[in-house]
Amino acid sequence: MTAAPLLLQILRRPETSKSLDLADWDLLLRQARRANLLATLHALLEERGHIEQVPSRPREHLGWAHAIAERHAQAVDWEIAQIRKALAKANVPLILLKGAAYVAARLPPARGRLFSDVDILVPKGSLDVVEAALTLHGWATTHHDEYDQRYYRTWMHELPPMQHVKRMTVIDVHHAILPETAALRPDPEKLRTAAQSLASHADVKVLAPIDMVLHSAAHLFHEGELDNGLRDLVDIHCLLAHFGGLPSFWPDLVRRAKELELTRPLFYALRYTERMLHAAIPPDAMEAAGSGRPHRQILALMDQLYTRAFLPNHPSCRDRLAGMSRRMLYLRANWLRMPPLLLARHLFHKAFISPDLA
């Protein structure tokens, strides 16, 4: 690979957008659209004051994406209000995760971020109550296949996704941030204890800043389908830039990662936000995070795979090995989620027995 794709160049240094010609803009928008980062690009250029210099045709495209993102943020606010209402009587502490949390807490990664599901975290003991309360308010379980139900309920860290029968919105109810069957088992109790109430609604919480970064990292580096990989990496980059100035953020980040068994995902998160997005990571923090560094040969392989998988999945960014890198990371993610025998059984079922496999 030679020069970095245009999208990465602009995410790293938005001010260089000034020198793009129309053919460059054509390519940049296509890469950003494929990476689900078009509205994010709009937000970034607007925030840095470069949007006025974008030629009118590409600027119009960015505006189109912005219109959808604005509507999306409103819809998410509305959806969160509905979830609060549904859970009000259940007396369960509600913690929002990922996209919904960024929107509710008005954090930088929320700007222009489009996502399909609202993720929440509740105590494992409250799953039944939460499921019942959501069902009563119009959400219905999906994945009616018996195998899928058992897959989620026995092995995963979440209920099968629930979809609202009228609004068609989807909520994922988690009781932990990684599957029951995974080797890494961050204690959800610790995350819940540290969670912080929103300024706007005392009954809704989001993870503490450091935990938010660690969750985002744990999620991304256990994810098998990296179509939104670059977007998720941009999330982490935004969170690091936003929270990085908090007193003792960086030393606490590494300490907390050890406490939650998440030093490996944190190491990867810092390594690839720096490599791909040129995030400014303090050298001390980078060094301390080295405790999560894998074996040299594994790391060399991961570098090969992730530096490809984090590129937009667009023909202009694919090399010979891009497809294989994505497939290997898919297998790796499943490997991390389950012990080998269980994984073999799961993949066998998905391949030959489940009727709805695409």
């Binding site: 053919a23 054509d26 494929r34 590409p58 505006g63 219109a67 959808i68 604005e70």
Partner: protein, 306 residues
Amino acid sequence: MNVSSLTEPDLKRRLAQHGIAIRTGAFVTHLQTAIPRVAEGIHLLYADFPLIEQGGFADFHVRLARPRNFRRWFKPQVLFLFDGDSTFKPLPLDQAFPMLEWGLNWCVSSHAHSYLMIHAAVIEKDGFAAMLPAPPGSGKSTLCAALVNRGWRLLSDELALVRLRDRKIMPLPRPISLKNASIDLLKRYEPRAILSREVADTMKGTVAHMKPPADSVARAMEAVPLAWVIFPKYQNGAATRLDMLPQSRALMRVADNAFNYSTLGADGFEALAGLLENAQCHDFSYSQLDEAVSAFAALKPATVLT
């Protein structure tokens, strides 16, 4: 330079190699395909459309291709690819040109949110536009095709684009889609109209597309204010009738036909209310195209009357 400046073999070769960039109204589409029937359709119906030089900016990157599955040997298919992504299920290869037309409508209606987009035909006369929103089967396209053969300018057969900043209608003239009985009806009404080959057994029945008038294509950048909203209804044997419709009722019905009314939120409502404020709204039933065209010829914009 227009599409007509290329010979058909030349056009075919360009489409198959690097593709061509065609301007339709406010949008430039880069199209690449090795399917001969698509090239034939472009050659026939897009002759008057401007070609944009390579290397610039295109709004939509579209490719029609045959999927590489073993069906290609006995039941060949076609895919519509939006920048490499297959957005729709494949269709029989025979339907490649109609699929291009449907796909191009999708490109605009699922992206262009600087417009309030309404599923409607729009035509213009003397600087004022008439919008014909209607569910499929109401005869909107047939009526629209008849009117543009009798002096009205075609703004669009499928998509009324209401520019949010000034609420003028931005043209998007492209081939007019005719279905089933209306194909022969239009051929009898205007024997000089240029129609594509008929394609049978599509999800809309038999379809053919009519070439848009050269003048409408040449004036595709001239936006106009809306003067009339007319809900056409074709009924066998019905007398020609134009009935006034209160704007409030018309507003709800137009909103029902809007693609992105809810995406635009408050902007959408304001655009729609502002759009209808100065428009006369009518229900229109007809069975004879001649009479319908005369009724349209008698329309006078409200601003001229006062």
